[in-house]
């Protein structure tokens, strides 16, 4: 990693740690001066950007996430009062052959709320989201969506042979955005995830984590009122994972209704509703 790359990464890590922007500029400038004076490689002098940022944050007394656990500082102040109901799910039941996956599930999410869907593997989390998205029919029950819907699948959803910005144009077209608008919106959402989607890399050549960023950006195109996110952070590194949650807080503050499937319990006290799909006991139909 050269000095510029290292300093850029440091800037991002300091931001993620909630270090004050002004202080962060000083820290980065001072590191740059030191590297120029010493002529030594940044990794040798300062170590990994994430570790150095952590040391800086601790020194200046910035509230630090628990060591080794990716925790995001929720925005300060009381959350704004939730708005009108955006997603209303009543009595959803779904069986695969004779196995009941979902049994009489209810969920209400208002504008400005995040609902986390949790449960063991096979508990029906993805099935539930696909039903909410209208991709799958329940055996009984009803889903009402008030407003536009964005859905980010757990995987897939990208086209192997298209460039990222072609994806934006394609999805944007379905949401009434012209090519330039779609590209601008896509770039802006991508920047929030520290990703530059410009360039001619076909989706099949993107890393797993970057493909998920693409999926997430596509879900957010056209500013949907309801966002259904099915473990969209798989393959994200720690920094991107923190970026992702920051983005969720922003969306919530903007008044979106968000449903996110997660098995990472350490974020659960930062959401408004938790829907646990773990069956009370093994049910048989």
């Amino acid at each position: 990693m050269n000095s510029d790359g290292w300093l850029h990464a440091l800037t991002g890590e300091l931001h993620r740690r909630g270090v004050d922007a002004d202080l962060s500029r000083h820290v980065v400038a001072e590191a740059a001066t030191h590297l120029r004076d010493s002529g030594e490689p940044p990794l040798q002098v300062f170590g990994l950007p994430a570790n150095y940022a952590a040391a800086v944050a601790e020194s200046v007394g910035t509230p630090r996430p628990g060591a080794g656990v990716a925790r995001v500082a929720a925005p300060a102040g009381p959350p704004p009062a939730p708005g009108p109901v955006r997603l209303d799910v009543r009595g959803i039941t779904k069986r695969y052959r004779r196995r009941t996956v979902l049994s009489d599930v209810d969920l209400t999410v208002r504008a400005g709320e995040i609902a986390a869907v949790v449960g063991a593997n096979g508990a029906g989390k993805s099935t539930f989201l696909r039903i909410c998205a209208g991709l799958l029919s329940p055996d009984s029950g009803q889903v009402r969506v008030y407003g536009k819907l964005g859905y980010c699948p757990q995987s897939g959803g990208t086209n192997d042979y298209l460039y990222p910005e072609e994806h934006f144009a394609l999805v944007g077209a379905g949401r009434g955005l012209d090519r330039a608008e779609a590209r601008a919106a896509g770039r802006s959402h991508a920047a929030a995830l520290d990703w530059d989607p410009a360039g001619r890399t076909q989706a099949r050549h993107l890393s797993g984590g970057t493909r998920q960023k693409l999926n997430l950006v596509m879900a957010a195109l056209g500013e949907p009122d309801v966002l259904l996110l099915d473990e969209p952070y798989q393959g994200f590194d720690r920094g991107t994972y923190l970026d992702f949650w920051q983005q969720l807080w922003r969306w919530r503050a903007d008044g979106r209704a968000i449903v996110v499937v997660t098995h990472l319990l350490n974020q659960l006290d930062r959401v408004d509703t938790v829907l646990d799909l773990t069956p009370a006991r093994e049910t048989s139909a």
């Binding site: 001072e30 001066t33 120029r36 010493s38």
Partner: protein
């Protein structure tokens, strides 16, 4: 890694357990690693004091402080260790900092000790002297036994 720290020559007080060369080399390698770790622990306890002492002589900036510390034989101090210490000293009001153009060269962040920092240095230096005198005495008794 500085060549003067943690060489086998410093292991004089450790009696060789075996005269065979490979064994000696293995001991030496183990000692070298432990020695580095121990030096790191010692440094953590006194680095802020050393920085305060250097700044008591005159104001300075990070890279120059690192060079001064290296020159005294305390050991090479990397920026990743030094700057967090400086930030902590700044936060606790023991030093102040200011970006300034140097006599020659680009703008640098210069650190200066405050009266409170000088006071802390004076008091803690006395404590440190008492501490190291005690450690020295115990270690000398052990060696002359």
């Amino acid at each position: 890694m500085s060549p003067r720290s943690g060489t086998c020559a410093t292991s004089g007080s450790v009696p060789p357990r075996d005269t065979r060369l490979p064994r000696q080399l293995a001991d030496c390698a183990t000692f070298f690693a432990v020695d580095q770790e121990r030096r790191g622990q010692w440094l953590r306890g006194v680095l802020d004091l050393c920085v305060l002492a250097l700044l008591h002589r005159r104001e300075s900036y990070g890279y120059e402080l690192a060079q001064s510390l290296d020159a005294t034989g305390i050991g090479p101090i990397q920026g990743g260790t030094l700057y967090p210490v400086l930030l902590r000293l700044q936060r606790t009001g023991l030093v102040t900092a200011q970006w300034r153009e140097g006599a020659a060269g680009p703008a640098r962040k210069y650190y200066r000790i405050t009266p409170s920092g000088a006071d802390t240095l004076r008091r803690t230096a006395v404590d440190w002297d008492a501490f190291t005198a005690g450690v020295g005495m115990v270690l000398r008794e052990e060696r002359t036994r």
